[in-house]
């Protein structure tokens, strides 16, 4: 059973093509990061999976059923971006209302409120809540009824670092129990350690999907070596120049250190040569981060590129 499967899915809003031939799937026990600039199609993809809209073309199947079928949506947890609730009700009343709608056990209500750290505020009206508290209530709401598919849109907005760490720990636990999780976020360094796979969307099409290693290979981005010379920068540079079998090496001097950009495939050969030369006192290896990979795929169109409509 897949958590969801999008097969060649397109969606048109009026005449504009919002999603264009997207193929994406999520298996149980996996955390998928969904990234893209504003208007890239993240929200549309999520709405299609939630059954709020139907695809203009292609096939959407969720938990082996139709998107939007009540028997399916019972097992989906969703945290929308900027989640809002009825301001006049207390946290407990709201969660109980949603629990009834989802057919979840009402005993879950205080349990979940405790889990997200709202036990002291659960009988206060939501209009007195801070942004972070509303976000926690939103999370508790998404976790009602043990979802098999969890979709979180910017879950860490408004959360302090401790709460953020708690959240990711919780997500890991749920993943290990077999929940499939989709995580949309703009805080790439924050989510990087926690996602199993990343999908990068631009202008409605899927640019790249895979785990970080495969994305790095697809991007073919260089690895940076940071070298501290044993004897002198000049000697070290000579070794590097001697070792250079192929083009594409970039060497920069910085404060008595050398930074070398090397192709991933040639990294080990260079490291071996350097070690053998005895000119290296210390060595650091920097893989491209999720953010580097993301920028590579999105292109550096700057703000103009990110200003699309939702």
């Amino acid at each position: 059973m897949s958590c969801f499967r999008l097969e060649n899915v397109s969606y048109r809003y009026d005449k504009a093509l919002v999603l264009n031939g997207v193929d994406l799937r999520l298996e149980p026990g996996e955390i998928l990061g969904l990234f893209g600039h504003n208007g890239a199609g993240k929200t549309t993809s999520i709405k299609l999976i939630l059954g709020l809209m139907t695809a203009s073309q292609g096939k959407v199947s969720v938990l082996d059923g139709e998107a939007g079928d009540p028997r399916v949506s019972q097992y989906i947890g969703y945290l929308p971006e900027n989640v809002m609730f009825y301001p006049q009700l207390t946290g407990r009343e709201i969660l109980a209302h949603f629990a009834r709608l989802k057919g979840a056990n009402l005993r879950q209500v205080p349990e979940l409120l405790g889990q997200v750290g709202l036990e002291d505020a659960m009988d206060a009206r939501v209009k007195t809540y801070s942004k972070g508290m509303r976000q926690r209530l939103g999370l508790a709401q998404a976790l009602l009824g043990k979802p098999r598919l969890l979709m979180l849109d910017e879950p860490t907005v408004g959360l302090d670092p401790v709460a953020t760490a708690d959240l990711y720990r919780l997500l890991r636990k749920l993943r290990d129990e077999g929940t499939g999780i989709v995580l949309c976020s703009h805080v790439l360094p924050g989510v990087e350690p926690y996602i199993d796979r990343a999908a990068i969307l631009t202008d409605g099409s899927l640019k790249a999907v895979g785990d970080l290693g495969s994305l790095r290979r697809q991007a073919n981005m260089p690895v940076t070596l940071s070298l501290e010379p044993e004897n002198g920068v000049a000697e070290l540079e000579a070794v590097i120049n001697g070792a250079q079998a192929s083009a594409g090496l970039m060497v920069r001097r910085d404060n008595g250190h050398l930074h070398v950009d090397v192709r991933s495939s040639e990294k080990m050969a260079l490291v071996k040569t350097l070690m053998a030369s005895g000119e290296v006192r210390d060595l650091g290896i920097y893989q491209p981060t999720l953010e580097d990979v993301y920028v590579h795929f999105i292109g550096s169109g700057g703000l103009s590129h990110r200003g699309g409509s939702q």
Partner: protein
């Protein structure tokens, strides 16, 4: 069914929490008692005039008040959820649009029905107890008819408010349109009908004209509560047309029921085609 009741239950407890239910009931009770005691003031005396006169006065006030209260209660049913950001979330739950709308209707409808029952019921009991020589049986029957028809009229305007609420995307627009609906049915419609009648100088098909009254739920409501008592003798204005209607009270009741069923079905159809 369960989710319909969950939604209805929230609406009901909302109207208890914000005191709407109790406020409406209080207004109704005050009005009913006031009219019962001072209704005859115009003829120079204070005291209970008669059951038909009291009901007729109540119905005349009701056509202004009931639609307004119903529209105010319901105009933000869907657009309010959308502006509050909860509509999107609700729609990701195992809850169809129909269930949401019917749940809202059940909640709002029960609020209005309870307020009507409590408000006018209390007044009816007070009249029965305090007025010496009132025929209790006739009063109870008249009050029952009045309460049921008032509730049906309210439901009609709740459903009309939903038609607006599922269509627009901003609350102030919904409020404005709801007021326009009130204005049309309560003030404009009869004027238009009278105008047509006079301007056509009798050319207008006289068989068709009475049927036009059925196009306005407030006219049906008035006919139900006034005509049945007075055999048409007290009727004035467009209502005199009602005496020519070839359908009896049964037909009028059916028409009033249709006046909430049809708009509700329309609201559902519009809601289903709305993009979220």
């Amino acid at each position: 069914m369960n989710s319909i009741w969950t939604i209805a239950r929230k609406e009901l407890s909302d109207s208890l929490r914000n005191r709407w239910l109790i406020a409406i009931a209080l207004v109704f009770a005050t009005l009913a008692l006031g009219i019962a005691w001072f209704g005859a003031a115009a003829s120079g005396q204070v005291g209970y005039a008669s059951t038909p006169a009291t009901i007729a006065s109540l119905a005349s006030l009701g056509i202004f008040l009931i639609p307004l209260i119903a529209l105010l209660l319901a105009y933000d049913a869907i657009v309010g959820e959308e502006e509050g950001g909860t509509l999107l979330l609700l729609m990701t739950y195992p809850l169809s649009r129909g269930q949401l709308l019917f749940g809202k209707f059940l909640g709002h409808g029960l609020t209005l029905a309870l307020a009507t029952l409590i408000g006018f019921g209390v007044a009816g009991v007070a009249i029965a107890v305090l007025v010496q020589d009132v025929a209790v049986g006739a009063l109870a029957l008249a009050m029952l008819r009045f309460i049921v028809s008032t509730t049906l009229l309210g439901w009609g305007f709740i459903a009309l408010a939903y038609v607006v609420s599922v269509r627009v995307s901003e609350k102030p627009v919904a409020a404005g349109l709801a007021l326009a609906i009130w204005f049309f049915f309560v003030l404009i419609f009869d004027l238009m009908l009278l105008g047509t009648l006079v301007a056509s100088q009798g050319e207008f098909n006289p068989d068709l004209l009475p049927w036009l009254l059925l196009l306005n739920p407030t006219d049906i409501y008035r006919l139900l509560n006034i005509v049945t008592f007075s055999d048409g003798a007290q009727l004035s204005g467009v209502l005199s047309l009602g005496a020519d209607l070839p359908i009896g009270p049964g037909g009028l009741w059916l028409a009033l029921v249709l006046w909430f069923v049809v708009p509700l079905a329309g609201a559902l159809a519009l809601f289903r085609s709305r993009r979220i």
